[in-house]
Point group: C2
Chain length 171, copies 2
DNA sequence: TAGGTTTGTTTCAAACTTGAACCAAGCGGA
DNA sequence: TCCGCTTGGTTCAAGTTTGAAACAAACCTA
């Protein structure tokens, strides 16, 4: 079957999106590197942990919630652990398991840097959009995220990133 | 001034966006790594060159068009040059300058892999959106990109990535 | 309950990115 | 013309990401 190239409109949308997505991520990385001494992903790890019950999560759940590979997470957590922001504990119910816990220090860093992060997100994105566009943005990317469901049978998107592996308790 | 946290709606939009953006980039990288043996950025370099007059661009123009650092580009072009897809030439008018040119081989790789890339873009994004949403997507990210104008006074987004540095000819 | 498969996590080397430092070559004015 | 400032590019070390092993524990199933 012959290629269905992008229409001019799709072309424009795609280029605007790709360029902006990269710019936003870069800006976020730089801002957080400045204020928190870590890239965006690492901040997200702390943030995700902070919302989890008891501020702890199994590595695999954390990786799935953040949609990153386990090996990437291993590296990141090792660094955060060195910095004292996260602690690794063994899972008592599953001896293979490893649990990442946000330390008090980690919580403090998060609380200290969150306002600046939110400001940046506003400056980069929401301040530039109308309220309708915010709604559209959500719908568009909820639809896009839907395309990845099959990949590894997750819960939808970010709603319950701390969902447990099986029904098994864990800590 | 006290932090303006994200509203629940903004929160949802932000999370859907962040997660999807990462997923899309990853999927793109994987697809292109498979089919073309290079990550998305490297493919974009070839694509940008292919649209430039004479398929050549000064390093800095290329970096600005792609919105990446010069050093990142240097590394990437070095690799692409090793693979024979791009060639470096000296700029005759400005002895500091270096010009990246797409080779015939590079053009062939691009032509061979473009259809698959477009398919992927459709599968990841456009197939999941209504025509109205495509328009909304463009408007949203054109607005977002607008926020970066001051950073280095570019032409808007991707429209003229091959624009010349000064008025000076170059090759 | 032994043996094979799956699951959770880490390890390792190779590739890539970052930011600061560096080196030329242009440029502008005293 | 000489000098200091800017611009175009590369280099280098440190940090990060990738994907393919490697491992170990848990889970079948015959």
């Amino acid at each position: 079957m012959t290629t269905r190239w992008l229409t001019p409109e799709e072309q424009r949308a795609w280029r605007a999106y790709i360029a902006s997505a990269a710019l936003v991520e870069d800006a976020l990385d730089r801002q957080l590197q400045q204020e928190a001494g870590m890239p965006h992903l690492y901040y997200s790890i702390l943030a995700t942990l902070s919302e989890a019950p008891e501020r702890r999560l199994r590595m695999t759940d954390l990786a799935e919630g953040l949609k990153i590979t386990r090996s990437r997470l291993t590296y990141a957590v090792t660094r955060l652990e060195k910095d004292g922001l996260v602690r690794r504990e063994d899972c008592r119910w599953d001896k293979r398991g490893s649990i990442a816990t946000l330390t008090d220090e980690g919580m403090r860093v998060l609380e200290r840097t969150a306002p600046g992060h939110v400001e940046t997100v506003r400056a980069l994105l929401f301040d530039r959009l109308t309220p309708e566009q915010v709604g559209q943005l959500e719908e568009i990317f909820t639809a896009v995220a839907g395309g990845f469901q099959g990949d590894d049978a997750h819960a939808t998107a970010e709603d319950v990133p701390w969902r447990r592996r099986s029904g098994k308790p864990c800590s």
